[in-house]
Amino acid sequence: MQETIITPEDGILSIRHSIRNMRKNASLTWELATRMFIRDMRAMYRQSILGYIWIFLPPIANTLIWVYLNSQDVIKVDTGGISYPAFVLTGNLLWTAFNATLTSMLNTVNESRALLSKINFPHEALLLTALGKSAVNAMLPLVILIPVLPFYVNEFHATMLLFPLGVIVMILFGATIAILLLPIATLYGDVSRGVQLILKFGFFVTPVVYPLPAAGLAKFISDVNPVTPLLVTSRSWLLGEGPIMLQPFILLSIITLIALCFAILAYKIAVPYLIERLSS
């Protein structure tokens, strides 16, 4: 018969306990996460006529804005021979993958507080569900590229197929930051507001709608900005510029994976304390 011990524990004991717990519940977690994922996907656009088309509209609209500004000479971006629509579209898809994952996952606990304070279930399932939803929202729009790309790209090459990998790393990077911030963001609303503010700046200081800056403050900022290599490398794969910043990309991907494991563990330990502060 399964035995549960409930007692106050800190430090190494709570870490061990959490890891044991996650391993024991792995299959149940997976099933629950799948269930909740299906539930949310079904419910997401049920009260809507256009339905899943809404997944595709935002990146298209966002791209059109920049293409319009560029075509009217309001802004002038030198992409070095690459057609601007393709450039902006890929940049946008990548940025949105990161941005949307980060902002939506930051609310994971607060959205489910009613559930968390009533039912005991493996909490990591919430993360899996959120990650799944973010993945769908970020990966599905990639099909836009299939009809669009042939108009703008002259030759096709094998590295193009690496592009979805770039999107996945973007999602994981956003998720890692979100999960790391989740405990504190659940307690204090300042965090989500602050993150949203930073992301607004982030869009403009990251080479999303313009190429890597060559000099000046813009170059410095884009160099220290961790999103830069992730975005630039992935885009270069697709648009055939040859891999730019490949090494930082690989390094960041590895760090992301390690940090993600750490973040999930921290989240697992933190949730009971969050429930206590939210529902008492």
Partner: protein, 419 residues
């Protein structure tokens, strides 16, 4: 310390010296929360089972013990009634037992599958149909899809919602949601069941169905039952844990005594007067008989099967020509238990015009009352003769504390000759 019986294989719940702190101030509570999380994650720290049993953390500023020093054991087939006033710590204890929040002191050992019915229908997505939500709700409770596939018909049949099962849950009434939630949860076959007032909702027919379904679970598992309805507690429970301000004030197998203690914790209730107030009541005397009646107190202690004697002064205004009087005895659940009337099964009629006086004294002598133990409240009521108008209703004019012999869920214990 160390007084557990870990080898007793039937002990499913073993709670030892459990305590939980809460914080009154939100800002501070959030700050403590952040600190606690950092503490819990610091790999250099090592506190846990071994020393937390003996070490009691200090209260930080603005903190208080929401529950303190709670210990009890529960075996298979036993049911403990967790009773106490609002804010006594019942729900907090249930959340700790369910593993939702961590205790600050003590130690809990739970054996077997735990099912907590704290709020039915938590996790329903309003926009999805009842059928879809059955699966979601089941997954949250840890029931696998295969299990639900097998039991789907049973669940739908139990909820009696077969016509509405493909309708979005947002169009369900609150009672229908509870039906669906309970129908899913009852499929769990738990070893340990935690129930928090969930049966208070839903119509009578469904409540009966739930109680019957629970009876099956009760014999096979250890149950913790939180309720404010003492008849239900008396009917279901084999033990009582009475809580007051986070502490256990009674813990034992004498259900009657536990419930009596709970009742005696309740205040007498304020006297309340309503109606047109053309008539006024004043209590002159109250007691168990004419001889022992005294004017000192409106709170009477009586034994089971003792009589009642009450003297009331009644003052009526000039408008009132005649009136009908009766006395009602209410129990703690605000249900009328006894109506004291006169021999012709009507309220006593007084004709003020005929007697020529607007002030009379009513002397009510009541034969032995077979009330079950507990607390009761008397209301004196004056209406017009045709009962179309209430002149005065004086609630809590006298309160009764009945010392019981035994406790069942019934309000009245009627001895009879059985041949």
């Amino acid at each position: 310390m160390g007084s557990h019986l870990p080898n007793d294989s039937d002990v499913l719940i073993d709670v030892h010296q459990v305590g939980k702190k809460f914080c009154r101030s939100l800002k501070r509570s959030l700050m403590y929360g952040a600190k606690d999380i950092v503490r819990a994650m610091n790999p250099l720290l090592k506190t846990g089972i071994s020393d937390s049993r003996n070490k009691i953390p200090e209260l930080r500023k603005d903190e208080f013990w929401a529950i303190q020093n709670i210990s009890f054991q529960l075996r298979r087939g036993e049911c403990v009634g967790l009773i106490g006033h609002n804010g006594a710590g019942k729900s907090t204890l249930l959340k700790v037992l369910n593993g939702l929040i961590k205790p600050d002191t003590g130690h809990i050992r739970m054996r077997g599958r735990v099912c907590a019915l704290i709020e039915l229908g938590a996790g329903f997505n309003p926009i999805l149909t009842g059928r879809e939500n059955i699966y979601n709700s089941g997954a949250l409770l840890g029931i696998r899809k295969k299990e639900i596939d097998e039991k789907l018909d049973e669940i739908v049949a139990f909820s009696e919602l077969d016509q509405f099962i493909d309708m979005p849950v947002q169009n369900y009434s609150s009672g229908m949601k509870v039906r669906l939630g309970f129908a899913v949860a009852i499929q769990m076959e738990p070893d340990i069941l935690l129930l928090d007032e969930v049966l208070a909702v839903g119509d009578i027919a469904f409540r009966h169905k739930c109680v019957n379904a629970m009876a099956g679970i009760l014999s096979k598992s250890a149950v913790i039952f939180v309720s404010h309805s003492m008849p239900q507690v008396a009917r279901v429970c084999s033990q009582i844990l009475l809580m007051d301000h986070g502490k256990s004030t009674y813990n034992g197998g004498n259900v009657g005594l536990g419930i009596e203690k709970y009742y005696s914790m309740c205040g007498g209730g304020e006297a309340m007067i309503s109606g047109t107030r053309d008539i006024q009541f004043n209590l002159i005397k109250a007691g168990t008989s004419i001889e022992s009646a005294s004017s000192t107190s409106s709170e009477l202690q009586i034994s089971h099967a003792q009589g009642l004697y009450i003297e009331l002064r009644v003052k009526a205004t000039e408008q009132v020509q005649s009136a009908r009087f009766q006395i009602t005895i209410w129990n703690m659940d605000m249900l009328p238990v006894v109506n004291i009337i006169n021999a012709d099964y009507q309220g006593r009629v007084v004709n003020f015009k005929e007697t020529g006086k607007q002030e009379v004294v009513l002397k009510i002598e009541c034969p032995p009352l077979h009330l079950n133990c507990g607390r009761y409240f008397l209301s004196a009521v004056a209406t017009s003769v045709d009962q179309s108008m209430v002149y005065c209703r004086h609630d809590n004019i006298v309160s009764l504390q009945v010392e019981g012999i035994s406790t069942t869920a019934a309000a009245i214990l009627q001895p009879a000759n059985w041949n």
